[in-house]
């Protein structure tokens, strides 16, 4: 095929160029990653035979401007709206207004939690952990980090009343998640040793011995990091914990190179893209918009079925640890939950179920759903305070 020589874009009318620039701008506004090079190519395409018909130009532009499947699905609509001025059907308006009144956003949960509890603070019985905070008489050297960690470490999240303390707990949860990642990688590097000979390095080292390769350098498959998939329960029964857990998850996602987060209540929402925002407050805002209907009921089995059906094949590989953060109170059928857990177990390496209720005195996992899920869980651990979250690290490092 002889390459087509495109005419210089100079003879394309200025009006059309402005229009194209406007189109590119509206694509960028819609989250498309479009650079200058693409615009230039788009201009060149206007000169090609493909521009003679609207739909062939649309296909060409779609191939040029799209970068992922979500772009691909939205492109036609944006194109038609811009060039043919057909209205874009907007779902945002409807969901935005109706949901506002009845449902809580994550932001509200995280921010308002302290103040909401503040009003009833007088009635709440103080916990042993809190007394530590007052006296400052804490066992030392448990974990690096600020001293406040010692104080807050053992307080059940639901018993933290002071908004400031809550904010500190949130920050600590996030920092904890970040430090986990650092330590995990350090451990990985030390284990390098492999079955194959690395000739390049062996020869480099043989120079010291006059060209005789005495020191053999080995190489092997690189230790790859574990992929973490987090399923976070954001239903009403978890209200006391959702705030701090979302911060924890945000910290994990920010630092694990391969991590995906899903949030579920009565349905499952993929929130990784929202949480990729570095700033915690903005990330939570975006997540709140995606996850309308938080603080309602729970359908764990349906959320898991959704996950298994639509996401599992994509996000799970053989070194994936699935972490479920939930109290296990499910309105669905326990048998179904058991079956879905079994299906999930077959796919991934480990399932860790973190249940804040384990920290409560006298809790037994007898709730129908929890009992059905338990046989398929590798680690069933408490997650009611910072110490219990920190205790996860050695477990994750072993995988």
């Amino acid at each position: 095929m002889s390459p087509l020589v495109l005419e210089s874009p100079a003879d394309i009318g200025a009006a059309l160029r402005m229009r194209l620039a406007g189109f590119v701008r509206s694509l960028r506004d819609s989250g498309f990653k479009v650079g200058l090079a693409e615009t230039k190519d788009a201009l060149a395409l206007l000169q090609s035979p493909l521009a003679r018909r609207g739909h062939s130009l649309k296909r060409a532009y779609r191939a040029l401007f799209c970068g992922r499947r979500s772009d691909w699905q939205r492109f036609d609509e944006i194109f038609d709206a811009f060039w043919f001025e057909r209205g874009v059907k907007s779902g945002i308006k409807i969901s935005g207004t109706s949901a506002k009144k009845s449902m809580k956003t994550i932001r509200e949960l995280t921010d308002a939690q302290g103040s909401r509890q503040d009003t009833i603070a007088g009635d709440v019985e103080r916990q042993p952990g809190e007394e530590d905070e007052d006296t400052g008489d804490t066992p030392s050297g448990r974990r690096e980090g600020a001293s406040i960690a010692e104080n807050l470490g053992q307080v059940d999240f639901r018993n933290i009343n002071d908004p400031d303390a809550m904010e500190k707990a949130h920050q600590l949860a996030e920092r904890l998640a970040k430090s986990m990642r650092v330590r995990l990688t350090r451990r990985d590097r030390q284990k390098r040793k492999g079955p194959r000979l690395d000739l390049r390095r062996t020869i480099r080292h043989s120079i010291a011995h006059g060209g005789t390769p005495i020191e053999l350098i080995k190489k092997g498959p690189r230790q790859r990091q574990l992929r973490l998939v987090i399923l976070l329960d954001a239903s009403g029964s978890m209200n006391n914990y959702t705030g701090v857990f979302t911060r924890f998850v945000h910290g994990m996602l920010d630092n694990f190179r391969e991590a995906e987060a899903f949030l579920f209540h009565t349905r499952l929402v993929h929130v990784s893209s929202a949480l990729s925002e570095r700033d915690a407050a903005r990330a939570l805002d975006r997540m709140g918009l995606m996850a309308q209907g938080m603080g309602g009921g729970t359908k764990i089995s349906e959320a898991l079925a959704d996950f298994n059906r639509w996401h599992a094949a994509r996000v799970i590989h053989s070194r994936t640890c699935v972490m479920i953060l939930s109290d296990g109170y499910d309105t669905g059928d326990p048998d179904r939950l058991g079956a879905e857990m079994a299906a999930l177990r077959r796919r991934c390496k480990r399932i860790a179920w973190l249940n804040p209720l384990i920290g409560w005195d006298g809790y037994e996992p007898v709730a129908g759903g929890m009992a059905a899920a338990l046989p398929h869980v590798d680690l069933f651990a408490p997650a009611h305070n910072l110490d219990s979250l920190a205790a996860l690290e050695p477990y994750l490092a072993k995988l």
Binding site: M1, S2, P3, L4, L6, K33, V34, G35, E38, D41, A44, L45, S48, P49, L50, S56, R59, A60, R62, A63, L64, C66, G67, R68, R69, D71, W72, L199, R200, I203, G211, P221, R222, R224, R257, E258, R309, R314, H317
Partner: protein, 293 residues
């Protein structure tokens, strides 16, 4: 070669690949704009076949780089032939040649082993370069892939920079097991390959399977479309349909409705997990067949 899309699609069909309009346009653009084409889609929708068909159409070589976890420079671009280098050094030891000469000799073309990416830019005639399942490779690999795809040159410290003698047409495929970087996506043209609509799948079958008539091809394609809507663990791809059609022809089927038993018995061609086989029972098969014209 013309730049008309319909002619191009027809030529492509003659090589055995039935493309839809969007894909044909995208393939034309790879040539016009000199950009790589990134194909995404489920396993088994024929992404790899696109590159093969393109190479056949252009009557040129197909150079394939299969990506995997841990793929690095030495497997993808070039590697020195260390064994031969060592031997060469030993052989010259007695000859009294000075170090400079030995070094020059040892780091020459003769001891360089080309890997697919280097090979692709050193051909006389522009080949088709297929970078398969790029999502399986690491992010580091993506970075130097990007470098090669924008400049079409490779720098080898011991030898200097190797410039492309011809610019290959690059097709990348991805199954979406890992999110690719925005930089790579922006550099590439993009096409999402979906399961083909029944009429296109029927055309693919007619193209690929000997002795199949149009009516039966359409029946099979429609049944496959229905089957894919069932709740399956592993949704069958186009390759499975082709296998199945060949199996049915081999067993002498003329019409699916006359051979209900045979249809059920040969489902092994398309259902590849135990759960799926258990799910698609005789009744389900009959129900699906009932919806097919």
């Amino acid at each position: 070669m013309t730049l008309d899309r319909d002619t191009f699609a027809k030529d492509l069909a003659e090589t055995g690949y039935v493309a839809d309009d969007g894909l044909a346009t995208a393939l034309l653009l790879t040539e016009m704009l000199n950009r790589p084409l990134l194909l995404e889609g489920e396993a088994g929708v024929g992404k790899t076949e696109v590159a093969k068909a393109l190479a056949k159409l252009e009557n040129t070589d197909l150079i394939r780089l299969q990506c995997y976890e841990g793929l690095d420079r030495s497997d993808a671009i070039y590697e020195w032939n260390y064994q031969r280098q060592l031997l060469a050094i030993k052989a010259r030891e007695g000859s009294g040649a000075d170090a400079e000469t030995v070094e020059e000799a040892v780091f020459s073309e003769k001891y360089l082993m080309e890997r697919p990416l280097l090979a692709a830019i050193r051909q006389d005639r522009a080949p088709v370069l297929l970078i398969d399942e790029v999502d399986r490779a690491d992010e580091e690999f993506e970075a130097f892939l990007l470098e090669i795809l924008s400049d079409y040159q490779v720098s080898i410290p011991e030898l200097g920079t190797v410039h492309a003698t011809s610019i290959p047409r690059v097709v990348l495929t991805s199954n979406g097991t890992r999110e690719l970087s925005d930089a790579l996506r922006r550099r590439c043209l993009y096409h999402y390959v979906d399961y083909p609509a029944p009429d296109r799948e029927a055309r693919i079958l007619l193209n690929r399977v000997e002795g199949l008539d149009a009516a039966l091809a359409l029946q099979i394609a429609e049944l496959m479309a229905k089957l894919r809507k069932e709740d399956l663990a592993k949704v069958p791809g186009v390759a499975e349909t082709i296998d199945w059609a060949a199996a049915l022809i081999g067993l002498g089927t003329k019409n699916l409705h006359d051979a209900r038993e045979l249809v059920f018995d040969t489902l092994a061609c398309v259902l590849k997990t135990r759960e799926d086989q258990a799910r698609v029972t005789r009744e389900v098969t009959d129900r699906l067949l009932g919806k097919v014209a």
